[in-house]
């Protein structure tokens, strides 16, 4: 599984809550190793999209293929193909960083959870914090442990949902470095953010979502992403 880069294909993804439409007919493709940044204002459906890709939510309609496999119908075991990072860390505050990683390592069926945990912590520069409780770490540090958790099992697809939320500029900078490192390793990445300034330099594709619909999409670097974004948001607002 090491170094697997997943190919992602999304077609007609739709999610409604009764009469309310959270996602409407979202379609895109990612080749192995591509880095997609999903932009949009709050409530645009970015989190819904990511959670659907993470299989936390079932879509009302649409299909997803991960490496040519029907992702939505795949068994629970296939969750090891993806790694998820959100603005919440998914960690237990009263366990140490290493204990958290060992726990998740066992869940993912790794043969040496402790060893892999230490490696992952080293990747994000936190080997020294291995035996400190996550609750005692700063928010930025906890978020980096969360990255370690997300890549512990070497997934082919990384899903990052507004990972910068709540981070001060220095912590955000360190997070950017860590993420750039991951991207260099060649994984396929989907990152959502509402903050254009945080659109990572390493991104290769962009998609702008407003009110659940795709307004604009294409390759990066694109000419004037700011202007594109403003136009897309303005167009939807009428």
């Amino acid at each position: 599984m090491t170094g697997t880069r997943a190919r992602l294909r999304v077609e007609g993804l739709t999610r409604t809550y009764g009469p309310r439409v959270a996602l409407e007919d979202v379609t895109f493709s990612l080749a192995a190793g591509e880095y997609l940044v999903v932009l949009g204002p709050n409530g645009a459906g970015k989190t819904t999209l990511l959670r659907t890709l993470a299989r936390l939510i079932r879509p009302t309609a649409g299909r997803v293929w991960l490496d040519e496999e029907d992702w939505l119908a795949a068994p629970a075991d296939r969750q090891r193909e993806i790694g998820v990072l959100s603005h919440a860390t998914f960690l237990y505050d009263d366990l140490t960083a290493l204990e958290n990683l060992r726990f998740f390592g066992t869940l993912y069926g790794l043969s040496d959870p402790a060893g892999r945990g230490r490696e992952a912590l080293a990747t994000v520069g936190l080997e020294a914090a291995a035996d400190r409780r996550v609750g005692h770490l700063s928010r930025g540090q906890a978020q980096r442990v969360a990255i370690a958790r997300a890549v512990l099992h070497d997934p082919g697809l990384l899903l990052l949902d507004e990972p910068y939320a709540g981070l001060d500029p220095r912590a955000a900078g360190r997070l950017s470095e860590a993420l750039a490192g991951l991207a260099r390793a060649g994984r396929t990445v989907v990152l959502t953010t509402h903050d254009l300034a945080r659109a990572p330099v390493a991104a290769t594709r962009y998609l702008i979502l407003v009110e659940g619909r795709t307004r604009s999409a294409g390759a990066l670097p694109a000419g004037d992403l700011d202007a594109l974004y403003e136009r897309a948001v303005a167009a939807a607002g009428d």
Binding site: L56, T89, Y92, T106, L107
Partner: protein
């Protein structure tokens, strides 16, 4: 694979609880106090005490358990740890099994304190039938832990969780309470008679039915 994951969840919950003994300690104190208050509230004669004793034990256990179930799920809500579990390859059934096992262990730990205390306060005499009492306790606890874990998850999906957990849990637990109280009382009055074994069978059947149903139905509770 499912068993390993369930075991990991159990180990994680035990480790968490040992770190901050808060929940089990709170439950123990609360349960003992309830058992005490019953006596003050009723001013029973020794004969009354022996009749009420088994019931008081189960009432204390029930209330303390209801407090515990809510908290064990609350700790998964911090940092949205539950989401972390849901994106992992773990089977919802294995997740339930792990949490169910944890709840059972904690309740049994509580009973290790509560039972001797109740036996003393209510002047109950087990007449050496410790094995039978333990069997009854374990079976009733297993059933209650299954329902409690399940409905704690259901209540967590609502905005009135703390209100809904008792409303959902207590009526459905009536057979277990009856089995525990009546079985226990019959045991203490006349030893392991037919009546006692009837109640044990009821508790065992209850555990099998609801253990299975709750494990299988759990995936529908946590999905979106």
């Amino acid at each position: 694979m499912g068993w390993r994951a369930a075991g990991a969840i159990l180990a994680k919950d035990l480790r968490l609880e040992l770190r901050r003994v808060e929940t089990v300690a709170t439950m123990v104190v609360f349960a003992v106090l309830v058992a005490l208050i019953f006596v003050f509230a009723g001013d029973p004669t020794p004969a009354d005490l022996r009749r009420l004793g088994p019931g008081a034990l189960w009432v204390s256990l029930l209330f303390a358990g209801a407090i515990g179930f809510g908290r064990w799920f609350a700790q998964e809500e911090r940092n949205q740890a539950l989401q972390g579990l849901l994106v992992s390859p773990i089977d919802p059934a294995a997740l339930f099994a792990g949490k169910w096992a944890g709840a059972t262990v904690f309740l049994l730990a509580l009973e290790c304190v509560l039972v001797p205390v109740t036996l003393t306060l209510y002047q109950l005499d087990v007449r050496g039938a410790w094995g039978e009492l333990a069997l009854l306790l374990v079976l009733v606890t297993l059933g209650y832990a299954a329902l409690g874990t399940f409905f704690a998850a259901v209540a967590a999906r609502t905005t009135a969780g703390e209100l809904l957990l008792p409303i959902l849990l207590f009526p459905l637990s009536v057979p277990l309470v009856l089995a525990g109280a009546e079985g226990g009382q019959s045991l203490m009055e006349a030893g392991p008679t037919r009546s006692y074994w009837d109640w044990v069978s009821l508790a065992a059947a209850f555990d099998v039915i609801f253990g299975t149903v709750c494990t299988l139905a759990f995936e529908y509770v946590i999905e979106e």
